[in-house]
Subunit: 399 residues, 2 copies
């Protein structure tokens, strides 16, 4: 497995583009990703009960397991827009399908941006011919740009590995305005691969991969109206079809996991106003579920996050947050390390001076290791601190 | 029922005081509340799995249903302090009991402040004689001061009502550094009354009252290591004992509810860095549980809270937060009003200009009314916006 340059268009048979259609003032806001041969596809969508129109349309269309292309706009989420919003998403999909000479069912759609305002559908419609015309096998970066909102950098990655004497590639792009842990800003990711794989196995691999990556930077059930991850696999690598959970599947899963985890961490690093990248690893739990729950409560706590921003020796907030997870805990069996610095060991407070701890807190990368001393299961989640900049961005940005 | 001046010492047979013992630099940090006759008492304590030492001690002692006094320190939470912390709380209680010539079991204890640092027990011990000596039937305000941490104002209230031809009084004090919704800063409240009531009825009344007040400004299960509410009733009013759920009980419940709801709202208003007081009322739910859950998700959302701080027309964030509560919702049946201004009615976006909505958002008191259109149950919760000042306070304050 080796990293290669580029993102979604580093994969054979994939073209993409991004243009400015006028939803945003001047930045690009409309992306299209197309596979030359019809691809198999799988998606993971928001669990929010108020799903945006594009999510509803994509969930309908992906049932077929086939996908020719994905159209994405940023700047307007087309969420809380009722029947009109649904019709708009359907119409866009229909127009793209017509241009690509394919069935509307094979087109998926995603949106991100302001909630509750009708899509400027005419601007999008007018731009579709140009959008399709500008598709290019080097257009991945343009697509990566056009899906951003408050992100400060594009997120793309590609890798290559060998199987069945073929070079197989996976590429991905993502957007996620930093939030994530403070819930509900939209996360989008689109992954392409030229592997040949059966649709139900792609589905299985994607679900697993998302659970270990994008779902570890957000908390169970806390998702925006628009969250979407789609993976399309077009078979252009020419490997023999992966149709069972053997070696070929295992290799693909590993490569896919690499891409999704990389993109998930990139989203955290680009967190709104983030000044620190924080890994919360919970060990010694009775179950993986317990470990994830405790880690999520810590990573979600505004008090923990502001403590890291302030670089203060407030480790008690970490334990207090852990105690709120509803998981059985004893202070006497708990150990806590910050970047390897021992703070508490089996209920004994081990650090000597606040100043030592403040030195640790000054680092840009923080690893919180909490051992519950109850079992042998572990999980990690990733988050950021909570800064003045976060408040500024979210108080001023309309989304 | 009429409001009277003062707080806990407006109640017959109650003395209180607050002094500086040296846990904090210069502000008062040690409070004592004593009932001349032995009182019946009930308490509601944190559900956090890592309960602070004073909480564990108070939970043991309150089993008897009797209480002579409550000792409270601020500046140090005595949480995550292991066996040593437990012994410290026990020792303080013993010393107070000795001074008051009562059993240690009749003394309750609470602490709030920094987690994980041993109590400066010598400072407290040394101050106990002075503390007891300074008890006064006008010392309520001093106690109200001595329990504060990042609070900017004391919180006390008292009322009087008639029953059985007797004037019955209830007084209360509280502290809660604003947080609350962003979880886990400590909330303390101590309520005194001269009513004569059976201990199990006091317990019932307090539980109900806390559920409608303090539990409506915090979210189920999200509590600090130290949260404590205690009510003591000493019978000095001389009414015939309330020993069943009749008229006397009903009147007491109403009066107690008035005090707890008042104190709870005062805690929100004094929220860390709060610039707005926000009521979230959810109507039209299938159950009260659904209503509370949706309201809590809205009130808990950093994106909603920063939108109000920024005074932007980001109403979509309110619906997105609602959609995360796991409660069945349809955009088509939802109505949303902000201070009576119609934003969405049964899925139709009704407001015309963002500028209209921005006018509403500029108000200091905001009422979010969300009707789910699914049933006839409703609940309200109270919260604040999330401001730069919140980040500043929590990044710099060590607690």
């Amino acid at each position: 497995m080796k990293e290669i340059s580029g993102g979604i268009t580093s994969v054979k048979g994939i073209k993409a583009t991004g243009i400015h259609c006028g939803i945003k003032k001047s930045k690009s806001d409309l992306a299209l990703i197309v596979s030359e041969p019809m691809a198999v596809a799988s998606g993971v969508f928001t669990t929010n009960k108020l799903k945006a129109a594009p999510v509803i349309v994509s969930m309908e269309h992906i049932k077929s397991g086939r996908c020719k292309g994905i159209i994405v706009n940023s700047g307007n989420a087309n969420a809380c827009t009722g029947r009109g919003g649904y019709k708009d998403s359907k119409e866009i999909v229909k127009l793209i399908a017509k241009e690509l000479k394919t069935s509307p069912k094979s087109i998926l759609i995603a949106s991100t941006g302001k909630i509750g305002t009708p899509l400027p559908i005419d601007k999008i419609k007018k731009s579709i011919p140009l959008l399709v015309k500008s598709l290019s096998s080097s257009g991945g970066k343009k697509a990566a740009e056009a899906i951003l909102t408050t992100d400060t950098m594009i997120k793309e990655r590609a890798i290559e590995y060998n199987y069945d004497n073929k070079a197989i590639r996976i590429g991905g792009i993502a957007k996620g305005s930093g939030m994530i842990f403070p819930k509900m800003a939209t996360m989008l990711s689109f992954i392409t691969t030229d592997v040949s794989i059966k649709d139900e196995l792609l589905k299985k691999a994607l679900k697993r991969s998302v659970d270990k990556s994008f779902n570890m930077i957000s908390v169970d059930g806390d998702t925006s109206t628009n969250d979407t991850v789609i993976c399309m696999a077009n078979g252009c690598a020419g490997n023999k079809l992966i149709d069972r959970a053997g070696r070929g599947f295992k290799l693909f899963q590993e490569a896919l996991d690499f891409i999704t985890l990389h993109l998930a961490k990139r989203i955290v690093r680009d967190g709104e106003g983030a000044t620190k990248f924080i890994e919360v690893k919970v060990q010694g739990a009775r179950s993986k579920r317990d470990a994830k729950r405790v880690a999520s409560f810590i990573a979600n706590s505004n008090l923990v996050k502001t403590a890291f921003f302030g670089e203060q020796a407030n480790w008690g907030r970490i334990l207090s947050a852990a105690g709120n997870a509803g998981v059985d805990l004893d202070f006497g069996s708990i150990s806590l390390y910050l970047n390897g610095y021992k703070v508490v060991e089996r209920g004994i407070v081990s650090y000597k001076e606040d100043t030592d701890l403040i030195e640790v807190m000054k680092k840009k990368e923080i690893k919180i290791l909490l051992n519950l001393g109850k079992g042998d299961k572990e999980e990690s989640v990733w988050t950021t601190d909570l800064s003045h900049e976060y408040i500024k961005i979210n108080a001023e940005y309309i989304s």
